[in-house]
């Protein structure tokens, strides 16, 4: 199929490289333009129809790309690119959006393109508004969970705990529902540790708000949903500190 894309990137070599990579993966992909700045991007969106997807560098010549979402609702998938921007990456992960790290790996780019081809046009505007909130320093309320054909938004405050299951993660919610997600527990730890979650064990990430009891002798905790969770010996001290027991 003949996909159309837009490259938003301020460094010419990087943009040229993307062009080359896209062409080598799929010759039919049509690159509508290369835009170096927020200003140019906004200008383009007000004069053109949306392409099928966008490749967007986070750091643009006149600011961070998230400024664009404040002005335009973008109803198409975006693949973010960045060399190294931990904070922005956290925001992207929290919203279950696609991203690629520079130098861009051809295989990863090909995978991302395949994923976009497969999905029917989803409405992603909600993701981006949450992203803008996060970049503006507003504490995020929801976390995005990618499902087969849609994105599900879950209240972070409703997650009691998360449990690792090889490359998948089980989410235990306050209403006793259980969700399986294809992301590692480490991913969740990265994005949730600032939001009241703590990794008490290799296999367990817990919401500190739902800790009911701490058993000193067995070194376990009981969550408010009745689950008993093991605490690693080397995490004990930090946990007690976080709970304000010590």
């Amino acid at each position: 199929m003949n996909m159309k894309t837009l490259i938003i990137e301020d460094e010419l070599p990087a943009a040229n490289r993307l062009k080359n990579l896209l062409n080598s993966i799929d010759e039919t992909i049509e690159i509508l333009g290369v835009l170096p700045s927020i200003e140019k991007a906004l200008d383009w969106f007000s004069n053109n129809a949306f392409p099928d997807f966008i490749l967007m560098d986070i750091e643009l010549s006149d600011g961070k790309c998230f400024e664009i979402f404040k002005q335009v609702k973008i109803p198409i998938p975006i693949i973010f690119t960045t060399a190294y921007d931990q904070y922005a990456l956290k925001a992207i992960k929290l919203n279950a959006l696609d991203y690629l790290l520079k130098p861009i790996d051809k295989g990863e780019l090909a995978d991302a393109l395949k994923k976009i081809e497969k999905t029917a046009k989803p409405d992603l505007s909600a993701n981006f508004s949450a992203l803008v909130d996060l970049v503006n320093g507003i504490k995020p309320k929801k976390i995005a969970i990618k499902e087969a054909s849609s994105t599900r938004f879950i209240d972070i405050e409703s997650i009691v705990r998360l449990q690792a299951d090889s490359n998948y993660t089980l989410l235990f919610l306050i209403d006793k529902t259980k969700i399986i997600t294809p992301r590692t527990l480490k991913d969740y730890e990265d994005i949730l540790s600032d939001l009241g979650f703590f990794r008490v064990h290799n296999a367990h990430l817990i919401n500190l708000n739902f800790v009911e009891k701490y058993f000193k002798d067995s070194g376990t905790i009981e969550m408010s949903n009745g689950n008993t969770i093991e605490v690693s010996r080397n995490k004990k001290k930090e946990l007690l500190l976080k709970l304000g027991i010590v």
């Binding site: 990087a14 400024e67 861009i104």
Partner: protein, 450 residues
């Protein structure tokens, strides 16, 4: 008319007037029994304890003037009931019989009475006087001194005078033979006393006693000295602590600055690294001739960063070289979006500059400003006559970019301040951003660096 009374001495009655003569006037006793006028008009008074001879005359208005009163006290001359005199011979009737004496032979007592200290009481306890110098504690300060003047005639009319040299300005007169000082303050004292017999002759020598009341322990000189010493020590100690704290503060400041700068220097700036690697991928994939040059520059840049981590100040030459590499790498990525103008005087190349400072400035400038074809970022780097390096750029801040914390600039400034007592200058206007970094001559660098 003269009247002798049993308890008020003599009374002289004139027309409408009474005059009294008693012991206060010098009479031997107020218990008078008899009186007699002799051929000279003088009055002889017989009392229970002796005889008084009052010499007097009358002035033109017939007023009686007393010239002198002389008392005769003898062991067998008591309770004189009658008295008369014929020329110089005085006859008196006493309780032991008739006593007569020749007035001309009865001279005045010219013997000075010797005077002695007879006793000492401290806090109402009798203390023996062994030595001339007596040491007392500060609370042994209620002192009674007894003394006596020896006279063989008319002892009751002995008059004393005494003083404590250190306390009294004049003599104190008394007929008592004891004096009490109830609350003497600490100090060294000498008490002196002398006596006068009834004929007005004073002792030849003083009787004296010296004593010292020690101050309480806390008031002794060495106590005061120790106190002062302790105070001085405390002050010194306190000062020492304050100075130490100040030193620690300065040292800590320095260490913190060190760490901040080192951290900044050590930061490989991952963003920069990965972007460059991305560029490199592009150059290599397209077999562009720039690729080897780019790899070379990139290697040199990171090698210098690593090698110069622990250097505080470096020659401007080195800092400029590194800046050139940095800008070269940036120009490959940004092309004409970034323009740099150099104006460096060769003489300044051997001057010293805070290591990594220019580098840090350039990083900040490119991070916070818009780089675009239409509005290129223009950076001027030049030396001045006043030994400074100026870095100036046009201000075109990026949107939504959080205000820079200025931590990097601050730590460079602190470094200059701590080591060379100099400051960097920062000027921000609506149009441009301007920083002036001091350059140190090799002499300054050698001599002020601590």
């Amino acid at each position: 008319m003269w009247i002798a009374t049993r308890d008020t001495g003599l009374i002289l009655m004139t027309k409408n007037h009474l005059r009294f003569f008693n012991t206060t006037n010098g009479l031997v006793s107020n218990f008078t029994h008899c009186l007699n006028l002799d051929y000279q008009g003088n009055i002889w008074v017989g009392t229970n304890t002796g005889i008084s001879n009052i010499m007097l005359h009358y002035d033109n208005e017939r007023n009686c003037i007393i010239d002198s009163i002389k008392n005769i006290v003898l062991p067998n001359l008591k309770e004189i009931n009658c008295i008369t005199s014929i020329k110089n011979i005085v006859y008196s009737g006493t309780n032991t019989g008739l006593v007569s004496f020749d007035l001309s032979k009865l001279g005045i007592n010219k013997t000075p009475p010797p005077v002695y200290i007879t006793g000492l009481k401290i806090n109402n306890k009798i203390v023996s006087i062994n030595s001339q110098k007596i040491n007392l504690n500060y609370d042994e300060n209620n002192i009674v001194i007894n003394y006596v003047g020896l006279t063989y005639r008319d002892a009751s009319n002995t008059l004393y005078r005494y003083k404590i040299k250190e306390l009294d300005t004049g003599w104190i007169y008394t007929q008592y033979t004891a004096v009490q000082y109830p609350k003497l303050p600490p100090g060294s004292y000498s008490f002196v006393v002398s006596a006068r017999n009834s004929d007005g002759v004073w002792s030849k020598d003083y009787a004296t006693i010296g004593f010292t009341i020690d101050p309480p322990l806390w008031a002794t000189w060495w106590a005061k000295a120790s106190f002062l010493l302790v105070l001085v020590l405390l002050l010194y100690w306190r000062l020492h602590i304050i100075l130490k704290r100040e030193r620690i503060k300065v040292e800590t400041n320095r260490i913190v600055t060190d760490m901040q700068l080192r951290e900044l220097r050590e930061q490989m700036d991952p963003h920069f690294l990965f972007n460059n690697l991305n560029t490199l991928s592009y150059l290599v994939e397209n077999k562009l001739p720039d690729a080897p040059i780019f790899v070379n520059e990139l290697s040199k840049y990171f090698r210098y960063s690593l090698q110069s981590r622990n250097i505080e100040f470096t020659e401007l030459r080195n800092e400029l070289q590194q800046a050139e590499r940095y800008i070269h790498l940036l120009k490959i990525r940004y092309g004409n979006k970034l323009l740099v103008h150099w104006d460096i005087k060769d003489a300044m190349l051997e001057y010293f500059i805070s290591n990594h400072s220019l580098q840090l400035l350039l990083e900040n400038i490119t991070k916070h400003n818009i780089l675009s074809e239409e509005n290129p970022l223009v950076v001027e780097i030049k030396t001045t006559e006043q030994s400074a390096l100026i870095v100036k750029n046009n201000l075109q801040p990026k949107a939504g970019n959080e205000e820079s914390t200025g931590l990097g600039l601050k730590s460079i400034d602190e470094r200059y301040n701590l080591l060379y007592n100099k400051n960097i200058k920062i000027l921000r206007t609506a149009d441009y951003f301007y920083v002036e970094l001091p350059l140190l001559s090799p002499y300054e660098y050698e001599n002020t660096y601590n």
